[in-house]
């Protein structure tokens, strides 16, 4: 695309001091994202997806140590002063969380939360802010939006609440929206609606979006690029089409295999990934996926595989024994 990307994450590492020693949550991750594009970050629980997103937003827990650079819109978020950072966040960053139960303030009405955010960001007067709130709620597909303004979060269903959370995130016209497992707490029919809503608003506003999920099915049709994380490291990164045509990392394949499929017979056991992710306080010498990997052999146990380019430089993977045959699943 164009010269400099909107967001570029360069050799970012996050360390969390814990009772059992240093916990490396994110390990030397490089990523970049252009304006108007969508990136999916995929990985199982505890692999550092959320910590990476918090590192981008500079909202890590106070004890955490961050190294590397997070360049956003020409500024290094990791090394700018709090006031600049706050203004930058206000203008161009927003986040949607997994659980809409806790991401809305329980004691303020939907209207108060939306209107105040709008007033703080866009310096609108009360009437204009209220009108815009109604428009936003309508845009995220909430029926009777003007009546919803006077309701409290607990009076709405989970899907509705997530729509409100999205409306609040969109209210300040962000350049980058980070959706941290936006559909995990919702049921499947609502999941598709919320994802479609996010995709639609993203196109309309030409904002960049990062979708964080454990579900490869979620990123399949809705992202431009996918990054697979395992144990804090990036293990495969590719344009979505290329990834689903030909995945190289055994972990990506295992993740895909763990999604239930409609055509399999009932009561077929799911091919779950055996074993558990490695203890992040005890770094392994070799590939961190090796103990669970069925292709593991030889130097997998003793040497860390670097990220190497596959057929194109956009497709990178970290594996000594990449899968050669096509996975056979279209995007």
């Amino acid at each position: 695309m164009t010269g400099t990307p909107l967001l570029s994450v360069e050799r970012v590492a996050v360390d969390l001091p814990s009772a059992r020693g240093n916990l490396r949550a994110v390990d030397q991750v490089d990523l970049s994202l252009d304006a108007g594009r969508t990136l999916g970050i995929v990985g199982e629980s505890g692999c550092g997806k959320t910590m990476l997103s918090r590192a981008i937003l500079q909202l890590l827990p106070k004890k955490a140590r961050l190294s590397g650079r997070v360049m956003f819109d020409g500024q290094d978020l990791a090394h700018c002063n709090p006031e600049t950072l706050r203004k930058l966040r206000a203008r161009s960053l927003a986040v949607v969380f997994q659980d809409p139960m806790t991401s809305l303030n329980p004691v303020l009405t939907i209207g108060t939360q939306l209107i105040e955010t709008l007033q703080a960001h866009l310096e609108l007067d009360m009437i204009a802010a209220k009108k815009r709130s109604v428009d936003l709620l309508a845009a995220v597909g909430i029926p009777a939006p003007d009546q919803r303004l006077t309701q409290y979060p607990h009076q709405l269903s989970g899907g509705m609440r997530q729509r409100v959370a999205i409306a609040i995130a969109l209210s300040c016209e962000p350049k980058l929206l980070i959706a941290d497992e936006p559909t995990t707490a919702l049921d499947v029919t609502i999941q598709a609606q919320i994802l479609d809503l996010l995709a639609r608003e993203q196109k309309r506003r030409h904002m960049a979006m990062i979708i964080i999920t454990y579900d490869l099915g979620v990123v399949a049709g809705r992202t431009d690029e996918v990054a697979v994380m395992y144990a804090g490291r990036l293990v495969e990164r590719a344009p979505t089409q290329a990834l689903f045509k030909q995945m190289h990392m055994p972990y990506t394949e295992a993740l895909l295999a763990a999604i239930p499929k409609l055509e399999t017979a009932p009561h077929t056991p799911l091919p779950a990934i055996s074993g558990r992710p490695p203890d992040p306080t005890r770094p392994t010498k070799g590939c961190s996926f090796a103990p669970r990997c069925r292709y593991s052999a030889g130097r997998c146990e003793s040497e860390k595989p670097p990220l190497v380019p596959a057929e194109t430089s956009a497709h990178q993977f970290a594996c000594f024994h990449p899968i050669k045959i096509a996975a056979g699943v279209g995007a």
Binding site: L57, L59, K62, R86, K87, L88, R89, A90, R91, L93, A94, V95, V96, F97, D99, M101, T102, S103, L104, N105, P106, V107, L108, E116, T117, A120, H121, P143, A144, Q147, R148, Q151, Y152, P153, H154, Q155, A165, I168, A169, C172, I178
Partner: protein, 290 residues
């Protein structure tokens, strides 16, 4: 029949079913009593009452009569009048002291719970020191030094209530400050002041307000105890506590002199507790959430 249409009309009712919470007669009786005591205290000067300090030595410990509805005390002062004027002291101290605690303690607790770090250590440490200090000695020392007055009494009790308010506010803030709506507000570039005032305060204020009414009741009792011990407002200003204290001397001949102010205090404290509990239950919008 391929897809299921889920469309909602424009006129769809978004209003939820009203919460059918009935306020019992007990609640209204409590409200009634509090309002009655308040009105009596506020309009004491306009009521056709004899002076609470005029002594009638010929009618000491007089029984109930048309002239003295509740009789007179050991110095021949009108008991009803003293009860009404005593309500002033109890209510002024009982309401103003918790306000001091609410504002200072609540503010400190909110800041300590949000900013953490050294500031929190300092605040919690100094509150522990304040809690460890014997309250009676503190009250004695201050009244000995600054003199007995409603103002001093209010300040003493207010300062003594700060640690409790601080703890309630800090505990509530700690659980809220890492909640996602706060992080979402931070991600949207909200200032610390905005997060504290608009996101955290409305959440913390609810448990704090419920606690406030509880403290009002406690302070009324404490003020009574201090007055009973002679540390309250200076005589001849009547206060419920000092009336009970004075009535103690004639408990054998006229027990009503101690019991009437005691009953007034009991009813007032009970009413505040009842009102506080009920108000908390009906104003908490979170109670609908599972």
């Amino acid at each position: 029949m391929a897809t299921l249409e889920l469309t909602l009309g424009e006129d769809v009712q978004a209003q939820p079913a009203q919460r059918g919470r009935r306020l019992g007669p007990l609640f209204w009786a409590a409200i009634g009593w509090v309002v009655f005591v308040f009105a009596a205290a506020v309009f004491a000067d306009m009521l056709p009452l004899p002076s609470p300090t005029d002594m009638d030595m010929l009618a000491r410990r007089a029984p109930f009569s048309a002239e003295h509805w509740l009789g007179t005390d050991g110095l021949g002062r009108d008991e009803l009048s003293r009860l009404v004027y005593g309500a002033r002291v109890s209510l002024v101290v009982g309401l103003c002291a918790p306000v001091i605690g609410f504002v200072l303690g609540g503010g400190l607790g909110l800041l300590a719970g949000y900013f953490r770090g050294q500031f929190e250590t300092l605040v919690v440490g100094s509150m522990d020191v304040l809690l460890a200090f014997p309250p009676l000695i503190f009250a004695l020392a201050v009244t000995a030094f600054l003199g007995q007055s409603i103002m001093n009494l209010t300040c003493i009790l207010g300062v003594l209530s700060i640690p409790a308010f601080m703890r309630v506010a800090r505990a509530a803030t700690l659980t809220l400050a890492r909640r996602e709506f706060v992080i979402a507000a931070q991600a949207l570039g909200a200032t610390h002041a905005r997060i504290l005032i608009r996101e955290l305060l409305p959440n913390v204020a609810l448990p704090l307000l419920a606690y406030f009414l509880l403290v009002v009741a406690v302070i009324i009792l404490v003020e009574g105890s201090l007055a009973f011990l002679g540390l309250g407002v200076p005589p001849p200003i009547p206060s419920w506590g000092s009336m009970i204290g004075e009535g103690r001397e004639s408990l054998d001949v006229a027990p009503r002199l101690a019991f009437i102010p005691a009953i007034a205090m009991f009813l007032t404290v009970l009413s505040f507790n009842l009102v506080g509990d009920t108000l908390r239950a009906i104003t908490d919008p979170r109670q609908g959430a599972l």
